[in-house]
Assembly symmetry: C2
Homo-oligomer: 205 residues x 2
DNA sequence: GTCTATAGGAGGATAGAC
DNA sequence: GTCTATCCTCCTATAGAC
C-alpha cells in the first residue's frame, strides 16, 4: 500500500475526498478531480480502474485508520467491570473527532454522511463487509452495559446515536471554535457534548 | 397552486421525489424522471423552468404541509404551564412520521436527508428562508422548558436531535413493522422510541 | 399544453504514443 | 507511468410543429 503523501495515488485520493465532500459522488467529475490533484485525466483509470473503485479507496484510506483506532480503544475497556457507557462512547467518538480535526481528514466525515444518505446498495455492502464488525463489537459492549434494554430497543438507540453523531461530525451544526479556545480544548468540549447526549439517550427510561 | 394528483405537474413531482430519494439530485436525470411520470421530456422545463426549480418545488409541496402541521401542533401547547418536553417533541416528530408512512410521501424524508448531506448553499438558503422560522419557534419552546441549559448547549442538543431524527426517519434504520402490528400502532411505537430518546438527550445532565 | 428533434456540452472510459 | 486525443453515451435545455 502507498502511504507517502506525494504519490499520484495519494494526490488523487486527497483531491477526491474534498470534491466528493463538497459536490457528492455524482457531482464531482473526474475532470475536476484530476485538475485539482494536478494529474492527468487518465490517471484515475490507470491507478484505480474506475471512478467507483476510486470512491471505495477514499473510504478505505480513512476507515482503516479510524476503525483501527476505535477497535484499539474498545479492546482496552471491553468486558471490564469498571467500564462505563461514557467510556465506550468515548472509544467510538474520539477517534472520529481527531480525524475530523486533522487538516487532511477534516472533510472525510462529510463524505461519510453522504454515503449514509446515498442508500446505494453497492456502497453499503462495501462498508458493511469491511467495517460492519466494528459496529457489532460496540453493540455487544452497549448490550452488556444496558442489560435492561430489549434487543430491539438497543438497535433503535444505537442507530439514533449513529445518526446524531454523523450529522454533528459532518460539520452541519458544528459550533465554531472561539479564538480564545485551543483546538485541543475545543475537541475535548465537543466530545463531552456528544458523549453526554448519547449516554443520556441510550439510558432513557 | 395545483393540488389534484392527476395533473402533469403533480405526476412529475411525485416521480421526481421518488427518483431524487433513490438516486440523488444529480443522479436522477430528467429523462428517467419524465419517463417514470409518463410525461414528455420537455414537460419539466415547461412547467418548472429548470431542474433546480423542480427540486425546490419537490421540497415546497411536502414542507408546506409538514411544517404547517408542526406549527399547528406547537401553537396548541406553546407557552402553557402543563406542557412537557415530550409534548413539544411529539409536535415536531409526529407530523413527519405521518408523512413518512403515507404512501405518496414515504420517500420524502430520504430526500430531506440528502439535502442535509448536500451542504449545497443554494438549497440551504432556500430551506432556511422558507422554513427556518419553524425551527426557531420550536427552539424557543425548548429553551422555555430547559431553562438550565446555556444557549450554546441548547443549540448543540437541538442539532443532535435533528440529526438523529432525520437519520431515523430517512428509513436507514427504521425497524420493520411486524405483520401482527397495525400500521397505526407501529407509527405510535416509533414515535414513542424517538420521543423518549430525544427527551433524554435534551435533558442530559 | 404537449410533442419531436436537436443543439451544445459534459460525462466516464480507453487506445496508443512517448 | 504519464500524456494526448478521441469515442460514445448521457445530460439539460430549447426551438418549433401540432
Amino acid at each position: 500500500m502507498q502511504t507517502s503523501p506525494h504519490t499520484t495515488k495519494e494526490r488523487i485520493l486527497t483531491a477526491a475526498e474534498e470534491l466528493f465532500a463538497r459536490h457528492g459522488f455524482d457531482g464531482a467529475s473526474l475532470r475536476q478531480l484530476t485538475a485539482a490533484a494536478g494529474v492527468n485525466l487518465a490517471a484515475v483509470n490507470y491507478h484505480f480502474g474506475s471512478k467507483d473503485r476510486l470512491i471505495e479507496e477514499v473510504f478505505r484510506r480513512r476507515l482503516d485508520q479510524l476503525n483501527g483506532h476505535r477497535m484499539t480503544a474498545l479492546s482496552r475497556i471491553a468486558g471490564q467491570p469498571q467500564t462505563t457507557l461514557e467510556d465506550v462512547l468515548a472509544a467510538f467518538i474520539k477517534p472520529a473527532l481527531e480525524l475530523s480535526h486533522e487538516g487532511s481528514g477534516s472533510l472525510f466525515m462529510r463524505v461519510l454522511a453522504r454515503a449514509f444518505a446515498e442508500h446505494d446498495d453497492t456502497l453499503r455492502r462495501f462498508l458493511s463487509e469491511n467495517y460492519g464488525h466494528v459496529m457489532r463489537q460496540f453493540t455487544v459492549e452497549f448490550a452488556r452495559l444496558l442489560p435492561d434494554l430489549s434487543k430491539e430497543e438497543l438497535y433503535w438507540r444505537v442507530d439514533l446515536v449513529t445518526g446524531a453523531l454523523t450529522h454533528a461530525m459532518s460539520g452541519f451544526g458544528m459550533i465554531q471554535r472561539k479564538s480564545d479556545v485551543t483546538e485541543r480544548m475545543h475537541r475535548e468540549q465537543t466530545a463531552e457534548h456528544l458523549i453526554r447526549f448519547a449516554a443520556a439517550g441510550l439510558n432513557a427510561p
